[in-house]
């Protein structure tokens, strides 16, 4: 069963086209990653899917309902983690969750369970404004999970976090997936996309330019696979990873000039650069 479906979505703000014929679908229990640089149209797409914005053209569905008609019943099944956290800074960790548990009509006992699960139990009486960025991230994720979401929207869930916290959050997200929830995340983090997502879509200038599982995409662009040779002189040479490069490599080997050889497999980032000429962080 598909949780999100978009068909030829278009959005214009005045003369400016922000989304230009975006189509995709996300199945239940899938982690879908939307990758694209700032201004690619990621937030606009999320706003349309969640019913915050009306599309100029095309059709979108969320949990079987036209996004333009999605009401409170649908929205209460959606957990949202925004890039700005969206926390009540003066309220404590517990009060932030208590407020949303009342909005989501969930039991108060769920709060303690989630605090425990997210490692926030000790900070329950701390005002959100006094939390570190990593803790705010966790709290924002805890709030999104509080409604036992069937669908989670996560905007840059690990942006600016240290590797340990990032790994912990990835573990939590994998557990969420196991429970059957669908996750829609946007990220600039290639490692995150590759390790977490079942499927990714590369969005550039309002268009999806590539879509598939990270492995599929990388295999498709395997011709980008290169050999990177660092010579003892410090010079770096990049060669195609093909039989034609054997001669050059052999010559350097014979002369004892090679310090290291690496093969550079294509990543979603290199694919994105190949397709657009720009990096994802651009």
């Amino acid at each position: 069963m598909r949780t999100i479906f978009a068909d030829n979505l278009q959005k214009k703000f005045g003369e400016k086209t922000v989304l230009d014929g975006v189509s995709f679908d996300i199945s239940e229990g899938e982690i879908f990653g939307l990758l694209g640089p700032s201004g690619a149209g990621k937030t606009t797409l999320i706003n349309i899917i969640t019913g915050q914005l009306l599309q100029t053209g095309g059709y979108a569905e969320i949990m079987g309902t036209d996004t333009r008609k999605a009401g409170d019943e649908v929205r209460r099944k959606i957990g949202v983690m925004t890039d700005s956290f969206g926390l009540y800074e003066r309220l404590t960790v517990y009060d932030n969750l208590l407020f949303f548990s009342e909005i989501y009509r969930t039991h108060k006992s769920d709060i303690d369970e989630i605090l425990q699960h997210m490692g926030l139990s000790e900070a329950r009486k701390t005002p959100a404004e006094k939390l570190s960025k990593g803790m705010k991230n966790r709290l924002s994720l805890a709030r999104a999970m509080l409604c036992h979401a069937k669908l989670l929207f996560l905007d840059e869930p690990t942006s600016g976090l240290d590797p340990v916290t990032t790994m912990e959050i990835h573990e939590v997200l994998k557990e969420v997936r196991k429970s059957g929830s669908t996750i829609f995340l946007t990220t600039h983090n290639m490692h995150e996309a590759q390790s977490l997502c079942d499927e990714i879509a590369l969005l550039s200038k309002g268009k999806i330019i590539e879509r598939g599982s990270p492995d599929e995409i990388c295999s498709k662009y395997n011709y980008l696979n290169r050999l990177e040779i660092t010579l003892k002189s410090g010079e770096k040479i990049t060669l195609d990873n093909s039989p034609q490069s054997a001669g050059t490599v052999g010559d350097h080997l014979k002369n004892g000039q090679i310090r290291s050889i690496h093969s550079t497999e294509p990543s979603p980032e290199t694919v994105f650069i190949e397709l657009t000429g720009k990096g994802l962080g651009a």
């Binding site: 969640t50 949202v80 925004t82 969206g86 009540y88 407020f99 909005i103 929207f153």
Partner: protein
């Protein structure tokens, strides 16, 4: 209704930790108590300070707190999360507005007690205060909806509340100002609380305040429609 109660409770907890907002609710009632208790020149009517501060209170506290709180929710992204969580915009606005009305009416009750109003006078005083607070609140909510940040909201709300609250006081010194001030609900309300006399409501006060309310409501609905425009 459940969302309204949840937002009301959240706002109460938040306001108790938000000194900038809290002071607006508390300052004028406390000032009224202090001045009435301590400054008692001979011949000064009992409700002298109440008549001055009540008008300023209903022009300032609801307007600036509504504008600031709504703009803050927009600025911090909490409003976006709320709307995506199934809270209707009208529930959010009612929750915030309900809290501000309750807080300001508590302050009004203190002023009523200090002013020595009782019985029918107290009921009329509170009714006038409620009407003024609602008009001011509607204006503040419109400003909040039209602003993307607290700074932007305050840059409109502060001059506006100063004009509305100071014009009635300045009208005593200049006829032109007096004529202009007469068109404001704040001046009409000030006249209802004339020092040394019973609280009274004239037909002119009702009509002018009613017109002020209609204009404020029209501006609010325009702002609401604009902020809700999803195309």
């Amino acid at each position: 209704m459940k969302n309204f109660i949840a937002i009301f409770k959240k706002q109460l907890k938040d306001a108790l930790k938000n000194k900038a907002v809290l002071i607006q609710f508390v300052m004028f009632p406390v000032l009224t108590v202090i001045m009435t208790m301590n400054v008692k020149p001979e011949g000064m009517p009992e409700n002298f300070f109440v008549s001055i501060f009540a008008t300023m209170y209903l022009c300032m506290a609801p307007l600036s707190s509504a504008a600031s709180l709504i703009a803050e929710e927009k600025e911090k992204g909490t409003l976006r999360v709320l709307l995506m969580s199934g809270v209707k915009p009208q529930e959010f606005l009612t929750g915030i507005g309900g809290f501000i009305l309750a807080a300001c009416m508590t302050g009004a009750a203190v002023m009523c007690a200090v002013g020595g109003y009782s019985g029918k006078s107290a009921v009329i005083f509170m009714a006038i205060m409620a009407a003024g607070i609602v008009i001011s609140l509607v204006i503040g909510r419109a400003i909040g909806l039209l602003s993307n940040s607290q700074t932007a909201a305050n840059s409109v709300a502060i001059p506006l509340m100063l004009v509305m609250s100071m014009l009635p006081l300045l009208s005593a010194f200049n006829n032109t100002i007096a004529k202009a001030a007469k068109m404001l609900f704040s001046e009409q309300i000030r006249q209802c609380f004339a020092p040394g006399s019973e609280v009274s409501v004239s037909a002119e006060a009702v009509i002018i305040s009613g017109v002020n309310f209609i204009i404020a409501a029209a501006v609010f609905f325009g702002a609401y429609k604009r902020s809700r425009r999803r195309t």
